[in-house]
Amino acid sequence: MELYTPVLALALLAALFAVGSVIMSAAVGPKRYNRARLDSYECGIDPTPQPVGGGRFPVKYYITAMLFIVFDIEIIFLYPWAVHFDAMKLFGLVEMVIFIATLFVAYAYVWRRGGLEWD
């Protein structure tokens, strides 16, 4: 555990700094009310109204996120494998090749079905 306490210290420090500056910016900066300035910026014309909780956005991002999850999980498995590859030798290699190949199936599917296209 004590390996992580320094991290905590640093994090605390950083947090203090960040929060402090957020507060400071609120405190120090001048306050001149101006309706236009409080509107969200759209090149000076009236902003189009936003639905509550942000508008809807392209499904594309969702798909990207999905892919990210899949590959990130793969990485989770790759790391320990890599660290101890020397111990597992051939078996490890074969297993991982199979694993990656399996993953490629899904990957190829997504690719062919245009899951990776942005237009």
Binding site: A18, D72, W118
Partner: protein
């Protein structure tokens, strides 16, 4: 599978012993280290900003900031002060709390990641008899830790973009998060090879693994031991990924001024903006430092210094080498920005997903096989062939896919509903201009958000740009499913 992993994990647990030098510091030492790192990072940022402006200016035959302080070194500090005195705006469309938290979320991880970066070897503290490594801390999964913390930073950006309640911010936030995660995958894959060779995920050990008892060809030329050399492809991928990860040019699409004004921090002002700025530059430093650690032998003195001067790797000198190497990367960042145009978003994503990731996957397999061969001189051939065969298959498959993209893909049957997508769809890999470069496709109906009507503002091209990206992606993906 299970039992296999069991042994792995036990091994991981067993490693704690090897990091015995860490976690011995008393609280005050920890505090000192933390403060030092903190200050170093802040100063580094200020310096980097200045450096960037100077270098870019020089590349563009300008002078750059030279008024405040010697060589204008204090310019960025002045900017900071100015920002602090700016009015602090919170748009009324914004989600107040999140809007305030977002910058904090962005900054804190940026700082924290530096906790595991080794600046140097174990050194004796002045005025005391205790020795301590020049590194805040280290852990068996240090690099994983870096990745994890770094990805927390993404929250800051997404939430910042979302909470601003403005379309630009939203799309900017989404874009940047999308590209960050995309390139994080590539980066993660690039690291695998390193772990494979180092046999550890702790930064200090990786550094150590890169600098065994150095031996030389003809007693002069060092046998390459840096992973940048022996794992060059990984290094390449990592460098590319790190640029994408930090949203730097040529991958700075989130704040693509032409499309998105300022991207996710469009609505931010004053110090909150400064925080995002800070975070970005610290991330830059972080990835550079990480690159140094993982690929350039960390704090070890580079050849020929190490050849001529034995003491180069002892005492506080290594800090010098470390920062020297780090600034190489930072300069590289600046250089890129100064010289390269910005990519188009689809090209950018396609590059990440269609080349970096599969490429590095194949590379991993390759490396593993090579490693295997080196480990046991004579391996059972048949297995080698099997592995090679599968690997080859993957490669072939990869290129087949790549080609199949341009060729008539049957699935375009879906897209035939409107030929334009057809073009755009195929165009990506085949030729980059089929989509109608540089103007993105016009809106094809479908809602951007909520039940809002299709956007038909003839006079507001910039809106339609932002909108059209949304439109077409929505409708397209609908068809794809």
């Amino acid at each position: 599978m299970t039992s296999q992993l069991t042994t792995l994990a036990t091994a991981v647990a067993a490693e704690d012993g090897r990091l015995s030098v860490f976690g011995q510091d008393p609280w005050w030492l920890i505090l000192i280290k933390a403060v030092v790192i903190f200050i170093v990072l802040v100063l580094l940022t200020l310096f980097n900003i200045w450096l960037e402006r100077r270098v870019v200016a020089r590349m563009q035959h300008r002078i750059g900031p030279n008024v405040n302080g010697p060589f204008g070194l204090l310019q960025s500090l002045a900017d900071g002060v100015k920002l602090a005195l700016k009015e602090d705006l919170i748009p009324k469309a914004a989600d107040k709390v999140v809007f305030l938290i977002a910058p904090v979320l962005a900054v804190v991880p940026a700082f924290v990641t530096f906790a595991v970066i080794p600046f140097g070897p174990e050194v004796g503290l002045p005025f005391t008899d205790r020795t301590t490594p020049l590194q805040l801390t280290d852990m068996p999964v240090a690099v994983l830790f870096v990745m994890a913390i770094a990805s927390i930073g993404i929250y800051g950006i997404v939430l910042g973009g979302w909470s601003s309640g403005s379309t630009y911010s939203l799309l900017g936030g989404l874009r940047s998060s999308a590209q960050m995660i995309s390139y994080e995958v590539a980066m993660g894959l690039a690291l695998v090879a390193v772990f494979l060779y180092a046999g550890s995920m702790s930064t200090s050990e990786i550094v150590a693994a890169q600098n065994p008892g150095q031996d030389y060809w003809f007693n002069v030329v060092p046998v390459p031991t840096w992973y940048a050399v022996i794992l060059f492809p990984s290094f390449l991928v990592y460098v590319i990924a790190m640029v994408g990860e930090t949203n730097r040019a040529p991958f700075d699409l989130p704040e693509a001024e032409g499309e998105l004004v300022g991207g996710f921090h469009t609505e931010y002002s004053s110090l909150k903006f400064a925080l995002f700025f800070l975070a970005e530059y610290i991330n830059m430093a972080t990835v550079s430092a990480l690159a140094t650690t993982l690929f350039l032998g960390g704090w070890h003195a580079p050849w020929p210094i190490s050849f001529f001067w034995e003491g180069a790797d002892s005492g506080y000198w290594p800090v010098l080498w470390f920062f020297a190497k780090m600034f190489v990367f930072i300069f590289f960042f600046i250089w890129l920005r100064g010289s390269l145009p910005r990519l188009r978003y689809d090209q950018f994503m396609a590059f990440g997903w269609k080349w970096l990731i599969p490429g590095s996957l194949v590379w991993i397999v390759l490396v593993a096989s090579i490693r295997l061969v080196t480990l046991e001189g004579g391996v059972d051939r048949t297995y080698m062939y099997a592995a090679a065969g599968i690997m080859l298959a993957l490669v072939v498959l990869l290129f087949f896919i790549g080609d199949g993209e341009g060729a008539s893909d049957t699935d375009r049957g879906l897209a035939t509903t409107d030929g334009e997508h057809d073009l755009a769809g195929d165009g990506v890999a085949a030729d980059d201009f089929a989509g109608g470069f540089p103007t993105p496709p016009m809106p094809t109906g479908g809602a951007v958000r909520g039940a809002a009507a299709p956007l038909t503002f003839a006079d507001r091209t910039s809106r339609t740009v932002a909108g059209s990206a949304a439109d077409s992606t929505t409708t397209r993906s609908d068809e794809e499913k």
